[in-house]
C-alpha cells in the first residue's frame, strides 16, 4: 500500500494581494513598537497552491521582541484545530525584521516549521515596505530554507489582485476573524 504524500510538490503559489494587505496590517502595530511580529499563510496545497487565509498570532502565547518572534505550542494548537475544520494547511509564514536586513537568521531557520515546500517570507524595516519584491522569499527544500532569486520568485509567486483572503488573529485559546 502506498501512503499519501503529506507534502506534494508545489510549482507555484498564488498569493492574493488581500493576503499581503492583511499580513502587513496585522504586523504593523508590532513594527511600530519596534518588535518583530508575523503571520501564517494558509490555503490549499497543490501543484498550484493558493493562500486563502492569513492568521496573525497575537496575545497569549505570542512573544514579540526586538529580535524575536516566538509562538507557544498552544498557539500552534489553536491554528491547527482551525485549519483542520477549514480544510486548509499551512503554506508559509511571514515575519518582519526591525533592522534593514531581510536575510534569515539562524533562529529563523531553526525555530520554524521545517517541511518541504513551506514558504518563509521576511520583510525588513519593520514591514513598512509594501513592495513584496523587496522582501526575502525562502522555500524549504529537504535540508533547509533556500532563498529564491528574483527570477524564480517572479516565476513561482503570483500576486493576484482579485482573489479573496480571510484574515484572523489567534492566541493560545482562540481564533477570531478580523473585519476588513
Amino acid at each position: 500500500m502506498t501512503l499519501p504524500d503529506p507534502y506534494p510538490g508545489i510549482e507555484k503559489w498564488t498569493v492574493p494581494a488581500a493576503a499581503l494587505y492583511a499580513t502587513l496590517r496585522g504586523v504593523r502595530p508590532a513594527g511600530l513598537r519596534a518588535t518583530e511580529s508575523g503571520a501564517f499563510w494558509l490555503g490549499r496545497r497543490a501543484s498550484r497552491s493558493q493562500v486563502t487565509s492569513v492568521i496573525v498570532p497575537r496575545g497569549a502565547g505570542v512573544i514579540e521582541r526586538a529580535n524575536m518572534w516566538q509562538l507557544s505550542p498552544e498557539v500552534f494548537g489553536t491554528i491547527s484545530r482551525w485549519a483542520l475544520t477549514h480544510e486548509v494547511v499551512m503554506l508559509g509564514m511571514f515575519h518582519i525584521h526591525i533592522g534593514t536586513s531581510a536575510r534569515m537568521s539562524r533562529w529563523d531557520r531553526e525555530r520554524v516549521v521545517q517541511v518541504p515546500g513551506v514558504l518563509s517570507v521576511i520583510a525588513a524595516n519593520a514591514g513598512v515596505e509594501q513592495n513584496h519584491r523587496t522582501w526575502a522569499w525562502y522555500v524549504y527544500e529537504g535540508s533547509g530554507y533556500r532563498e529564491m532569486d528574483p527570477v524564480e520568485r517572479d516565476l513561482r509567486i503570483e500576486i493576484s489582485a482579485h482573489l479573496p483572503c480571510s484574515a484572523w488573529t489567534a492566541d493560545a485559546g482562540s481564533i477570531r476573524v478580523v473585519n476588513p
Binding site: D5, P6, A83, R111, V115
Partner: protein, 99 residues
C-alpha cells in the same frame, strides 16, 4: 434466558493531522495501544523527528484541545472504553537552548 455477552470492539480508527501537511495520518489501532506508538507512527508519516540543534525540538499529540502528557496510557485510557475514533493534532514544541 441466556445472556450473551456483547463483544467489545477493540479497534480505534485513529487520525493525526499536522498543520503543514495535506494528508492526514490514518491507522486502526487496538485500544490497548499506547499513545506513544501513535506518536511515533505519525511522526514517521509526516517525516519529522524529535531532535536537538541549539534548541530542543519535540513533537507532542494534542487531543480535544489538550496536550497528551502521559504517552504511556492506552487509547482506551485516554478516550474511554466505547469510543472508536480518535483525532489528534501533531504539534512541535521548541524549547530554546542557551543563546
Amino acid at each position: 434466558m441466556i445472556q450473551v455477552p456483547i463483544a467489545h470492539e477493540s479497534a480505534v480508527a485513529t487520525e493525526v493531522a499536522y498543520l503543514p501537511a495535506v494528508a492526514v495520518f490514518k491507522k486502526s489501532y487496538e485500544d490497548e495501544t499506547r499513545v506513544s506508538v501513535v506518536r511515533i507512527d505519525a511522526m514517521a508519516f509526516f517525516h519529522v523527528a524529535d531532535h536537538r540543534d541549539r534548541d530542543t525540538h519535540e513533537f507532542f499529540l494534542e487531543f480535544e484541545g489538550r496536550r497528551v502528557a502521559d504517552l504511556s496510557q492506552t487509547l482506551e485510557q485516554l478516550m474511554g472504553r466505547d469510543r472508536r475514533h480518535a483525532r489528534f493534532n501533531l504539534i512541535e514544541q521548541i524549547t530554546p537552548g542557551a543563546a
